[in-house]
């Protein structure tokens, strides 16, 4: 059997039997990327909303910066964070290198500009009108901000899901700062690189399939939010 086909049949076996090695990797991936995206959301949505409500002229520089960072190559992010947290770096004393915590930091840095930037773009188109409608109906600061976010919820969910899609699939940053240590910092993407290198195609393909499945779920969600944005009251 050619390696790919053999890999696929073995992969299904591993997935269907909940192979512990595979499961641990999948679980860590979800944990790291999920936490990173959650934190990016907590910072990025308010930030993007704030920027989106400012007149475009006054946020030109920060917008350009955000757009640039949206395309930040993961290896570059990994490199910078590595230097900051290595033993020589300013945060070296924290001893976070080669831990899941630093992987979360790296993915946070990658997801934040995407979530903040896409939120900003969404708010910029309709946010001002929403804000003024809320204000004129007597809403205070908090209710106004909440209304703007709520009214833009499809686009914001889209931003969050796009952020998740990006970090869960990236390999450069987690490899550099996490180190791909078995059982501790090995996630799906780094495991695929490793297992492929070792010739363990069935494991690599199995992980690849899980990653694809997750990508499929993510994009289905994205599709639903975009459809929902068009016509449902949800």
């Amino acid at each position: 059997m050619p390696p790919l086909l053999e890999g696929i049949s073995e992969a299904f076996y591993l997935i269907l039997t909940f192979d512990p090695y595979l499961m641990r990797i999948v679980f860590l991936s979800l944990q790291v990327s999920g936490t990173a995206v959650l934190l990016s959301t907590l910072v990025g949505v308010p930030l993007g909303t704030f920027l989106g409500l400012k007149p475009a002229g006054r946020t030109r520089l920060i917008s350009k910066l955000l757009y640039t960072l949206m395309g930040l190559p993961p290896v570059v992010a990994g490199l910078v964070i590595y230097l900051l947290f290595s033993r020589m770096g300013p945060f070296g004393v924290l001893g976070l290198l080669w831990t899941p915590a630093i992987m979360i930091i790296a993915q946070f840095v990658l997801a934040l500009p995407i979530i903040a930037g896409l939120t900003m773009i969404a708010i910029r188109s309709r946010g001002k009108t929403i804000q003024e409608t809320a204000l004129t109906l007597g809403a205070g600061k908090l209710l106004t901000a909440w209304t703007v976010v709520r009214e833009s919820r499809f686009a914001i969910f889209g931003a969050i899901v796009t952020g998740l899609g990006r970090v869960i699939a990236e390999v450069g940053a987690v490899m550099m700062v996490g180190g791909n240590i078995a059982g501790r910092t090995r996630v799906m993407t780094t495991a695929i690189v490793l297992e492929t290198g070792k010739g363990n195609f069935e494991l690599a393909v199995g992980l690849g399939l899980v990653l694809l499945l997750i990508a499929f779920i993510i994009n289905s969600l994205l599709y639903r939010f975009q459809e929902g944005g068009k016509n449902s009251a949800w």
Partner: protein, 246 residues
């Protein structure tokens, strides 16, 4: 005595964008009246309403609400804003049900929940939308949406309602319904209306007092009939007789 009390006054109000688009010396609106603001496109009508609603800071000058100077920010501005509201020419309805839209201002004012539903039903009936409470606001026609926006604005019984072309692009039956509602509310509750309209016939039908705005300045103010039958300024005459080219 009705019509004697000043609800809103502006002094030396101006707004400069790229150029000066509004410059008013002193003008007062009396409580309980229906004002029509007319004038050619670009005269500054919408800008005037936006300043009055504190959505935009004036470049110079002050606004007095019930005799007190209003500030643009903070709790004081919120308190003033809560006594008035504005319906935009193209109102935005929130992405939720019709009843949630109508209830929005009530919720913002912490109106008792158990009374809200009843109030919403009454209002929807008033604007001819009985049975629409649970409809998704996004599926309404233009006229229906405009009526929901109006119901949403009057739900919390503001003292002053600012309307920016509330019936532009609506069919005659919707126009009639909205005009009737304005007249009824004014008669029953004494609500003050300041209505910008392109339509001089509409101003003539429902306004008691008409303000003619031209190039950012008030050219003439007067009782509606007088403005239409005996305008003092040549520009007013040109406008109400349809001779002003714009």
């Amino acid at each position: 005595m009705r019509g004697e009390e000043i609800i809103l006054e502006v002094q030396n109000l101006s707004k400069v964008y790229d150029k000066e688009v509004l410059k008013l010396e002193k003008f007062s609106f009396q409580r309980g009246k229906i004002y029509g603001i007319i004038g050619p496109s670009g005269a500054g009508k919408s800008t005037f309403l936006r300043l009055l609603n504190l959505l935009e800071p004036p470049t110079t000058g002050s606004i007095y609400f019930k005799g007190k100077a209003v500030s643009m920010n903070g709790d004081a501005a919120l308190a003033v804003r809560r006594e008035m509201t504005m319906v935009f020419q193209k109102p935005l309805l929130f992405r939720s049900s019709v009843s949630e839209n109508v209830a929005y201002g009530l919720k913002a004012r912490r109106f008792p929940k158990e009374k809200t539903q009843e109030r919403v039903e009454i209002l929807l009936a008033k604007v001819g939308l009985k049975g629409f409470a649970n409809r998704n606001a996004g599926t309404l026609s233009g006229g229906e949406a405009q009526r929901v926006a109006l119901a949403r604005a009057v739900a919390f019984e503001p003292a002053l309602l600012l309307l920016d072309e509330p019936t532009a692009n609506l069919d005659p039956s919707n126009v009639e319904l909205i005009e009737r509602l304005i007249l009824d509310l004014n008669r029953e509750t004494g609500m003050t209306f300041i209505m910008v309209t392109h339509n001089i016939f509409q101003a003539r039908r429902i306004a008691q007092e008409v303000v003619f705005l031209h190039e950012g300045r008030i050219v003439e103010v007067g009782e509606t009939e007088k403005i239409f039958t005996d305008p003092q300024d040549q520009r007013t005459r040109d406008f109400v007789e349809g001779r002003m080219i714009y």
